[in-house]
């Protein structure tokens, strides 16, 4: 594993990008790794683009601000346009298939288009598309133990949504499976 993994989660507000990042962050903390989670915040909170940067590291994290990424989870077109160029060579970029018009073009990174919404609809919960992607990502980049991701999920999900834990777990699993099937985008 790398010394640190610098991950960007980006999409529209409401697609769950911030909580994806938080789950990773919590899980990393459970594993006693160093971690930082930095949202972009703004009046754009209310729609528009939302993103967060997560750093998972085995060493103390100095700058929580990074401009180049090892991993990217992309849920809309503006985010792809913004972050594709910022990927480090050899990095991984995962996007939701139906959300993009123009696909990534870089060849020095791994790119995967995940049909997360489609799969989520199959689970009767469109909202868990993000968890499918997360499952996919963690399968491709096994930064964290699965059980810790589940623990983190419980932390991040508000109490009142705890009845949705099973379907979220299911979604993670779906993503993980998709990752097994998919070798390159």
């Amino acid at each position: 594993m790398l010394k640190a993994n610098e991950i960007i989660f980006a999409g529209f507000g409401g697609q769950g990008v911030l909580s994806m990042g938080q789950i990773i962050a919590y899980a990393a903390m459970i594993e006693k790794k160093e971690v930082s989670w930095m949202p972009s915040y703004g009046p754009e909170m209310r729609g528009g683009t939302a993103n967060c940067t997560v750093i998972v590291s085995n060493e103390k994290i100095n700058s929580p601000i990074v401009s180049r990424f090892d991993s990217a989870i992309i849920l809309n077109q503006p985010s792809l346009d913004k972050f594709e160029p910022a990927m480090k060579p050899g990095g991984i970029l995962i996007y939701e298939k139906t959300c993009l018009v123009n696909l990534p073009t870089r060849t020095d990174i791994e790119c995967y288009g995940v049909p997360a919404i489609e799969e989520a609809v199959k689970l009767n919960k469109k909202q868990v598309a993000n968890m499918i992607i997360l499952g996919f990502f963690l399968a491709k980049r096994p930064l964290l133990e699965h059980e810790n991701v589940l623990k983190a999920l419980k932390k991040v999900l508000p109490e009142r949504h705890h009845h949705m834990i099973p379907v979220n777990e299911q979604a993670l699993e779906v993503g993980r499976k998709l990752a097994g099937e998919m070798v390159l985008a």
């Binding site: 009046p43 909170m45 209310r46 729609g47 528009g48």
Partner: protein
């Protein structure tokens, strides 16, 4: 885009006013701010006063109003739109000046400026968007939030004895001799929008008379802050806002 009169015998009976720019509005889907912007610009169009109108935007969701209204505008510090508008109107007494403010802006931090602007009878129009919440900063309690209302800063519901009562600032202002025309309107139905527009038009016309301040409260919505769909908010306005903030003219000029 379209021709005024179409080949097929249809004529345009409603289109976007030309004084509204083409910049996409940054507001959340279904937000009343946008409607009020449009109504204001319809009136400016209709009265042909684009070149004589100066607007003052607040700090609040409508901070970017100047991106949408194709008129000269100033962006005021939080709560100070009344003072800024006063500054403009005093040095340009022949222009139409209006301020546009949210409930946090006008009725919390800007209370003093609001009251004294109206008390001086500044010859301006003040448009007051009451959505019972601080929209821009993420849904905190506003002075106009209703009793028991849950917001980001009243998570257990507004406890009026600790946090203050819903402030009916419009009723207070109506009592000031400087207030010429004070009315409460809404945007929850097409008819409400029609009435709002009438009030705006009247206010601009009164402004020529130099007889005092016109003040329009618009009972509006905040789908994001209220955590409701836009359609739900309109119902909620009727059921919850109107009992506290009833519509209608509160003070009309006597001539």
């Amino acid at each position: 885009m379209e021709n005024e009169i179409q080949d097929n015998g249809l004529e345009i009976v409603y289109k976007k006013p030309s004084t509204l720019t083409d910049t996409p509005l940054h507001y959340c889907p279904g937000c009343g701010h946008s409607v009020v912007h449009r109504v204001l610009m319809e009136v400016v169009d209709e009265l042909g006063i684009q070149d004589k109108t100066i607007g003052v935007a607040p700090v609040g969701c409508s901070v970017f109003a100047y991106n949408y209204m194709n008129i000269d505008m100033q962006e005021a510090a939080h709560g100070r739109a009344g003072a800024v508008a006063t500054g403009i109107k005093r040095v340009l007494p022949d222009k139409y000046v209006f301020s546009y403010q949210g409930d946090g802006d006008l009725a919390a931090i800007g209370t003093a400026e609001t009251i004294h602007t109206v008390n001086r009878g500044e010859n301006i129009l003040m448009v007051f968007i009451n959505n019972a919440i601080y929209g821009m900063t993420g849904g905190q309690m506003a002075p106009t939030s209703l009793e028991g209302m849950k917001t980001a800063t009243s998570p257990y519901g507004r406890d009026v004895k600790l946090m203050g009562y819903p402030l009916k600032i419009t009723e207070l202002l109506a009592q000031l001799p400087g207030a010429l025309y004070v009315t409460r309107q809404s945007v929850h139905t097409p008819n409400a929008v029609r009435k709002l527009k009438k009030a705006v038009k009247a206010s601009f016309e009164y402004q020529k008379l130099n007889e005092g301040t016109c003040f329009i409260e618009v009972v509006s919505n905040c789908p994001s802050g209220w955590k409701q769909t836009p359609v739900q908010t309109m119902k909620w306005i009727e059921e919850n806002m109107f009992p506290k903030y009833p519509l209608g003219d509160i003070k009309v000029p006597k001539f």
